[in-house]
């Protein structure tokens, strides 16, 4: 048993898991507000990271400026998607809405490949020190920053939903659309806002991953990884999304460890979360914190 490796893997898992958590939160945000399952969540990361990369390399903007421009762009992008594609589908069956987001996902993935090519592009360096050591473990600065950013976003979400007026409107809409509307909440505005925030927050995650691994279409895989995370945490729970993300991140790395040490199957890193997903669905379909939907005849 190689304990240093084990610790390193758990730490990596927590860092990647925190990012999964952020993406899962933005997924849950859309689901809670508008009951739309967004299969294009990964493409938010992808589009955001590419736009930011484009700002930094082609336009030579400093990082903070390029990042702000990207956030503004993605806010608009989210609102436009909601208004053009999702609004006409309000009231349609689940399958239609799911398929619309699947269509969006394919469309933007191919569009990004068309515009930016298929090869991974590195971000211009942002931090001066490449690595720092934490408790005897070598950690990349970017990873630490990513952990910090994830924690900040999570705190931001908590504040937004607990104390801000818009957050309250969003919670009301999620609870009961008709009652919220009759009490003066503009439901279309809440829907658009949820897409805008979701796109923005995903973009932050996309840029962080882009800085670490370079930007490529592999980013959209975060949109698939988000499903084990949110199902584990409960589909409509923000806290559950964070916890689910962390668990999935650690689980992946532990599976890889077990695989490398004893099983030698290969590829467990990618597949383990899906086995876990099936198990959770069979045992506890509403996840750890999800609302139990009790149906009585």
């Amino acid at each position: 048993m190689d304990t240093t490796l084990l610790f390193q893997l758990v730490l990596n898992g927590l860092i990647v898991g925190a990012l999964y958590g952020v993406v899962a939160m933005s997924f849950v945000l859309i689901y809670k507000a508008s009951q739309v399952v967004n299969f294009a969540q990964g493409e938010f990361l992808l589009v955001g990271a590419w736009v930011c990369w484009w700002m930094l390399t082609t336009w030579q903007l400093p990082f903070w400026a390029g990042f702000l421009v990207t956030l503004a762009f993605m806010t608009l992008f989210g609102i436009l998607l909601q208004v053009i594609v999702l609004r006409p589908l309000i009231g349609e069956p689940v399958i239609s809405v799911i398929m619309a987001t699947v269509g969006l996902s394919i469309f933007f993935q191919a569009l990004m490949k068309w515009i930016f090519g298929v090869f991974a592009q590195p971000f211009p360096p942002i931090f001066t020190a490449e690595r720092v050591s934490v408790m005897g473990l070598e950690v990349q600065t970017v990873y630490l920053a990513s952990l910090g950013v994830s924690a900040l976003i999570m705190l931001g979400f908590w504040w937004f939903f607990s104390y801000s007026k818009h957050g309250l409107a969003m919670r009301a809409t999620a609870f009961d659309q008709q009652v919220a509307q009759s009490l003066g909440v503009s439901v279309p505005k809440v829907f658009a806002m949820s897409w805008a925030i979701s796109a923005m927050v995903s973009t932050v995650a996309g840029v962080v991953v882009g800085v670490v691994n370079g930007v490529s279409s592999a980013l959209s895989f975060y949109g698939i990884k988000v499903f084990p995370a949110v199902i584990l945490g409960g589909l409509d729970s923000i806290v559950g999304a964070v916890l689910g993300g962390l668990i999935v991140g650690v689980l992946e790395n532990l599976a890889q460890y077990v695989d490398a040490q004893w099983l030698n199957w290969g590829n467990m890193y990618q597949i383990a979360p899906f086995y876990a997903l099936i198990l959770i669905l069979l045992i506890k379909p509403y996840g750890l914190f999800g609302t139990k939907n009790i149906e009585r005849v």
Binding site: M99, G103, L282
Partner: protein, 351 residues
């Protein structure tokens, strides 16, 4: 859509496959005309027709699951692939190809039942995500199980042979696919006239009412998974013995989504729609290619790098087609076709 004052007076009349004598004649003539296709078309066009054929079978299976029973599956390509590999494996154990194709269907149905087991408990979104997991797990299994799929290298298989006749050219294999399409489409149309078929539709329309009327929900939900996998398996086997080579990469999630796109574009819950949607999705890349060829060498081509990125354009066309159909034609091509037929029947009146 039937003209006003055209009433059916018995259950038998209401559930016939062909509502009038003319429509039955039209169907028979249509199949007859298709039989003459190898005399008219070249090998390339016949290849497209064969692709439409096995895609339509798989799409029909998915439509039984999604359109008739109301359960979503995002892993259909994995079952399609399982059928392809299973048939190749059966052939290796000296099972004749015509039997292996149906055997592969049955094997795939069994696997579908295993992955459909959550269907007994889950519905809607949760089920969609469970099938998404099935897609990735099966794909991983194909890449790893060398005895089954030949691993990443893929697996070579035998051509179709019936009574010593080798049907391995497009001109002859076309008839094999056509025969399977006719049998399986008739079977599906008939299934919807039986007690089980109506039970499936009842489960879709309102599962609580269905249960109160004595329909065993878990049984029919799992059953529809089995039927859908059977169709996917047969289609996959037909694909395997057409290309004579099966490899893992073909059965990715994009292919699964293409099957879903076929039934949405064709029309959910329509047997003929599955065929129309399959034809649309198979011909869509050809249309994109034709458009690109038309622009080749022009300023637009140079500015947008169309020639070099044709594969991305095809993917974008798939995504755009799904979204546009959902927004503007949510009932699919089958519905539009019915409207056109009604227009001709009722002219010059609008009702």
């Amino acid at each position: 859509m039937t003209p006003a004052s055209d009433f059916r007076t018995s259950y038998r009349a209401d559930t016939t496959i062909f509502p009038t004598r003319n429509s039955r004649i039209a169907a028979i003539v249509g199949v007859g005309l298709l039989c003459a296709a190898p005399l008219v078309f070249g090998r390339y066009e016949l290849g497209l027709l064969i692709t439409i054929g096995f895609s339509a079978i798989a799409a029909l299976g998915l439509n039984i699951l999604v359109g008739f029973t109301g359960q979503i599956s995002i892993g259909h390509a994995a079952f399609f692939g399982f059928g392809a590999f299973a048939s190749a494996l059966l052939v290796e154990y000296h099972v004749p190809v015509p039997i292996a194709i149906w055997g592969a269907g049955i094997m795939t149905a069994l696997v579908g039942l295993v992955f459909g087991a959550p269907a007994a408990r889950l519905k809607g979104l949760y089920l969609a995500i469970a099938t998404l997991a099935a897609q990735f797990i099966l794909e991983d299994f194909f890449a790893r199980a060398r005895w089954f799929s030949g691993g990443v290298a893929g697996r070579v298989t035998e051509p179709y042979e019936l009574f010593g006749l080798r049907l391995d050219r497009e001109e002859t294999y076309f008839y094999v696919v056509l025969a399977h399409v006719v049998i399986l489409f008739l079977a599906a149309a008939n299934l919807m006239r039986t007690r089980d078929g109506r039970a499936l539709i009842a489960v879709r329309d309102h599962y609580l009412s269905a249960e109160m009327m004595g329909i065993n929900l878990a049984y029919y939900r799992t059953l529809s998974f089995g039927i859908a996998s059977f169709y996917a398996g047969v289609a996959g086997a037909l694909y395997a013995h057409y290309l004579l080579f099966v490899s893992v990469e073909a059965f990715n999630i994009l292919y699964s989504i293409q099957f879903l796109a076929m039934i949405i574009i064709g029309g959910l819950g329509s047997v003929m729609g599955s065929m129309m949607g399959a034809a649309f999705m198979v011909l869509l890349p050809e249309i994109v290619q034709a458009g690109a060829d038309l622009l080749a060498g022009s300023a637009i081509d140079r500015a947008l790098r169309i020639g070099a990125s044709i594969s991305f354009l095809r993917e974008m066309a798939i995504g755009a087609a799904i979204i546009l159909f959902l927004i503007f034609e949510p009932d699919g091509l089958a519905h539009r076709w019915k409207m056109i037929k009604a227009y001709w029947k009722l002219y010059p009146f609008s009702h």
